[in-house]
């Protein structure tokens, strides 16, 4: 029994090694091992559903014990990690077919899974940091599998990731220098007893690391390139899971290491919540709105989803940063929901790319008739993403809104609501430009994706419905987790929330059943009317003009061009441009530095002469130049 957490952690790593070796024999062996071991991880994880483990000693390093633990919150995140990774592995069987280095690809995929699992299970900062580094590096290796452009994107990612990790390392070193142990509980005690300046420094250093990984503005710039250039299944792991790990880190930082009461003492209380959390909330709120606006104007399907990820993770961080029971529950629930629907969308767009070879929205169109399953998946995904009932995204967003209203943080609430409305625009653009409208002649022979690629789409679509109509299923875990961290959980039941204490009530089953009843009424009226007959897409209204195959009769390029006219003036500058300017000036500086080293001995000796004479001159002046 006592070895079991170790077994859980080692399963994906073992699977990775085995599938790497198995791939040398035959590719089916590779797939079998990868799928088998990742499903095994999921099964093993379910043994811990109701069984928290507090203290499992992994070993000792630098005089600090390395501890594994599992509590309901880490269970939740571990569940996200294992599920999405398993589905990504299933999806990439067909998706990655025919590319080189697949053995290594599966090895990396499973190592990333293991590393992320390790982060969620970590009980001390050392373990946490070790797995964090493994995760950053392997995910970098995964991103650069996507072709030429992805190398540059991966470069951007790894630089930002290293900056984040290093700032965490400094914080860890500062803590280690004081108490020589890095177990969460001891660290929390240290922080409670330390001067406020030290605490704030630690907090900021950690937050930089987590912000980079969770892609919160202004440290989000790697996301749009990395997500869009990486292979589709990797994008869904990156967006579905890796971002959540950043959010998990933030949760651990806020609630396991610091705690709300300590955060409240750090800075004078001016706002409804502690100033630090309030600041994080504002970062998240600005993330939500700005990236929503950016997503609306994208022409590239995966870039659109990437910006949407930044916006949605904003909700998670916003929820966590509110600090009330309802807000935290909403944030964590949204992390789960976002993992479900965003991975779903990356899978379906991956399926479209797999069949058509393009992710340029204005080239696609009309695929609904060719790929109905993918369309259905996308439909569920976008409804959930837009936060429209009765699917899951709505419930968690609603909880966040209610939490903000409860705390009277009205301006953040406005940002959150606006971000949600804005998301209708880009999700509609996504589904319209790929699946609706006219089918271009060149995609006449496109077929539905193979069955293995449909599995993740089906399962995740089911997930959006299940967690939408029965939010109690997820709230069960979240409420236990909140209790574990000393927060009184809110009242909930299987179908929603009974409300009270300034919070409205919600009953999802009523909404969905009345909606279905309304649909039935509409269907009866519809069925009573005349019979319909199918017509071709070219038999269309064109003011009397006959539409033929060689005329492009579709509206898809620059879908929200008029909206762009409204907002473009604001988007002339961006954080990315600032970073790139820094990078350029670093380059220029490095170039001048390089010129000093000419490699010529005479130049070097003349440097020495000049410096010595300068020093001598200074001494002659009596050390007084100013």
């Amino acid at each position: 029994m006592n070895m079991s957490l170790m077994v859980l952690l080692l399963t994906p790593f073992t699977g990775g090694i085995l599938s790497y070796l198995g791939g040398k024999i035959h590719r089916s062996v590779r797939y079998t091992f990868a799928i088998l071991f990742s499903s095994l991880t999921l099964v093993e994880l379910f043994f811990y559903y109701n069984k928290p483990v507090n203290h499992f000693v992994l070993g000792k390093m630098f005089g600090s014990v390395m501890i594994l633990q599992i509590n309901p919150i880490s269970w939740l995140f571990a569940f996200i990690v294992t599920t999405i990774s398993l589905l990504a592995i299933i999806f990439s069987v067909n998706d990655m077919e025919g590319r080189g280095g697949l053995d290594f690809y599966y090895f990396e995929l499973m190592v990333v899974e293991g590393a992320m699992l390790g982060i969620t299970l970590a009980g001390d900062l050392l373990t946490f940091f070790l797995f964090w580094e493994i995760m950053s590096w392997t995910s970098y290796l995964l991103i650069i599998q996507g072709g030429n452009k992805s190398i540059k994107a991966g470069y951007k990612y790894i630089i930002m990731s290293i900056i984040g990790a290093n700032s965490m390392l400094i914080a860890i070193a500062m803590i280690y220098g004081k108490i020589h142990t890095l177990v969460f509980r001891n660290v929390a005690m240290l922080l409670a007893a330390s001067p406020h300046g030290f605490d704030i420094a630690i907090f900021v250093l950690f937050a930089i690391g987590f912000f980079v990984e969770a892609a919160v503005m202004p440290l989000h710039t790697w996301v749009s390139d990395a997500y869009s250039e990486a292979p589709s299944s990797v994008s869904s792991v990156l967006s579905g899971v890796l971002e959540k790990i950043g959010a998990y880190g933030l949760f651990v930082l806020l609630y396991a290491l610091f705690g709300v009461s300590l955060l409240g003492k750090l800075m004078p209380l001016r706002f409804p919540s502690p100033t630090i959390m309030y600041t994080i909330g504002w970062f998240a709120g600005i993330s939500i709105v700005v990236s929503t606006f950016l997503a609306i104007l994208q022409e590239d399907a995966k870039k659109l989803l990437a910006y949407s990820s930044i916006s949605q993770i904003g909700y998670v961080v916003l929820g966590i940063s509110i600090g009330t029971s309802l807000g935290v529950a909403g944030g964590l629930f949204h992390a789960l929901n976002h993992a479900i629907f965003k991975s779903l969308l990356f899978f379906t767009i991956g399926a479209v790319i797999y069949r058509t070879g393009t992710r340029n929205l204005s080239e696609l169109g009309g695929l609904i008739k060719k790929m109905p399953v993918t369309f259905t998946g996308t439909l569920f995904g976008i409804i959930a993403l837009a936060g429209v009932p009765p699917l899951n995204g709505f419930v968690s967003k609603w909880m966040i809104y209610e939490a903000l209203l409860q705390k009277k943080e009205v301006f953040l609430l406005i940002l959150a609501l606006i971000g949600s409305t804005g998301s209708f625009l880009y999700v509609y653009r996504l589904i319209h430009s790929t699946f609706l409208g006219q089918l271009p002649e060149k995609f006449k022979d496109v077929k539905e994706v193979p069955f293995l690629m449909q599995i993740p789409i089906w399962l995740l679509s089911l997930g959006t419905i299940v967690f939408g109509i029965w939010p109690g299923l997820a709230m069960n875990v979240i409420a236990r987790g909140e209790k574990f961290f000393g927060i009184t959980p809110i009242k909930y039941n299987l179908y929603g929330f009974p409300g009270g204490n300034g919070m409205g009530s919600l009953k999802m089953i009523n909404i969905s059943s009345v909606f279905i009843a309304g649909l039935i009424v509409a269907y009866i009226i519809f069925a009573l009317g005349a019979k319909t007959h199918r017509i071709s897409q070219y038999d269309n209204y064109a003011a009397g003009q006959v539409v033929t195959k060689d005329t492009k009769y579709n509206y898809s390029y620059g879908f929200y061009m008029f909206f762009g006219r409204v907002v473009n003036p604001v988007f002339k500058w961006s954080a990315d441009k600032i970073y790139l300017a820094w990078a350029r000036s670093a380059n220029v500086f490095g170039d001048y530095m390089r010129r000093i080293y000419t490699g010529n001995l005479e130049t070097y000796s003349s440097y020495i002469v000049v410096i010595i004479s300068l020093v001598g001159f200074l001494i002659l002046l009596g050390g007084k130049i100013w």
Binding site: L405, L436, N554, F559
Partner: protein, 296 residues
């Protein structure tokens, strides 16, 4: 139980009746403003019967058929969350914030259907509809938040109850009410915000390819839509009503003002409509919100 069944059947009929009567009023009043005699009062009903009894119909695909059905189904869903005099309905299952999102299911369905009709006019229409919605949503959420903060509840029925005895939110929060009116006005797509269906630009937009029973469903949906927007405003700002007659009268007065504006105004360009909403209505709504925040 019997009462519940009666409500379940009666409310959609009531809402449809109110909506369709307003559609009739609109055509009649519009005609009188233009010094015409105008169509008979029941003309919208005749139109719907005609559309539903067309003898042939086309289909561009399953979602094309489902689009109007989702729109109508969502409208029927929505009316159960807007309290009418004396009845809470389902307001306990979803509060005002949830209602904001229940109200968009219909537009999403309509958008999907119009998208599958593969007509660029429809696509442009939907793109405009969503952009316009983004435009008026900013002032609208601010207004909603001010009302929720003022009455310390998110339950629409409780808000209506709190305004009983003539303490309408319209008098308590006049600035919010003005902005709320402008938003409802835009949401109903009247001039100058009729960019979505603008017949001379995008050939009735989302409805370009719809005809026959599909269009009939959309007309029924429109009747519900008129009811929803007006009832929401009456519940939020005009204190609901004590009986259904007063409810109708209040809605009628509101509608009359809307029609008077609608008949004499030209049309905005879509980006100008968004700019308009993000300028004065937003500023006024924010002012009102700050007053609520400070004044409690």
């Amino acid at each position: 139980m019997v009462k519940n069944i009666l409500i379940a059947i009666g409310l959609p009929l009531l809402a449809f009746g109110i909506g369709i009567s307003f559609m009739g009023f609109k055509r009649k009043i519009g005609a009188r403003i233009q010094r015409r005699y105008g169509p008979p009062f029941h003309q919208p009903l005749l139109d719907i019967i005609k559309l539903l009894s067309k003898k042939s119909d086309i289909s561009h695909g399953i979602i094309y058929d489902l689009g109007p059905m989702i729109a109508l189904g969502a409208s029927i869903l929505t009316i159960f969350f807007i309290p009418i005099p004396g009845l809470k309905l389902l307001t306990g299952s979803a509060d005002v914030i949830a209602l904001l999102y229940i109200m968009v299911i219909g537009s999403l369905g309509m958008g999907l259907g119009a998208g599958e009709s593969a007509n660029p006019n429809s696509s442009i229409g939907i793109a405009r509809a969503l952009t316009l919605m983004f435009g008026y949503d900013l002032p609208f959420v601010i207004v909603i938040i001010s009302v929720l903060l003022k009455y310390h509840t998110t339950n629409l029925y409780a808000i209506t109850q709190a305004q009983a005895g003539g303490h309408w939110a319209m008098w308590v929060l006049p600035l919010s009410a003005i902005v709320g009116f402008i938003v409802i006005y835009g949401a109903m797509g009247e001039h100058p915000f009729d960019v979505v269906t603008a017949p001379h630009e995008v050939a009735t937009g989302p409805m370009a390819e719809y005809g026959g029973k599909h269009l009939g469903l959309l007309f029924i949906d429109h009747a519900f839509h008129v009811y929803i927007e007006l009832a929401l405003f009456v519940d939020l700002f005009m204190g609901g009503a004590s009986n259904i007659g007063w409810f109708y009268v209040k809605m009628f007065v509101l509608f009359l003002i809307i029609v008077f504006f609608d008949e004499v105004l030209p049309r905005f360009r879509i980006d100008d409509a968004v700019r308009f909403y993000w300028r004065w209505p937003t500023i006024i709504a924010l002012t009102s919100l700050i007053i609520v925040l400070i004044g409690g």
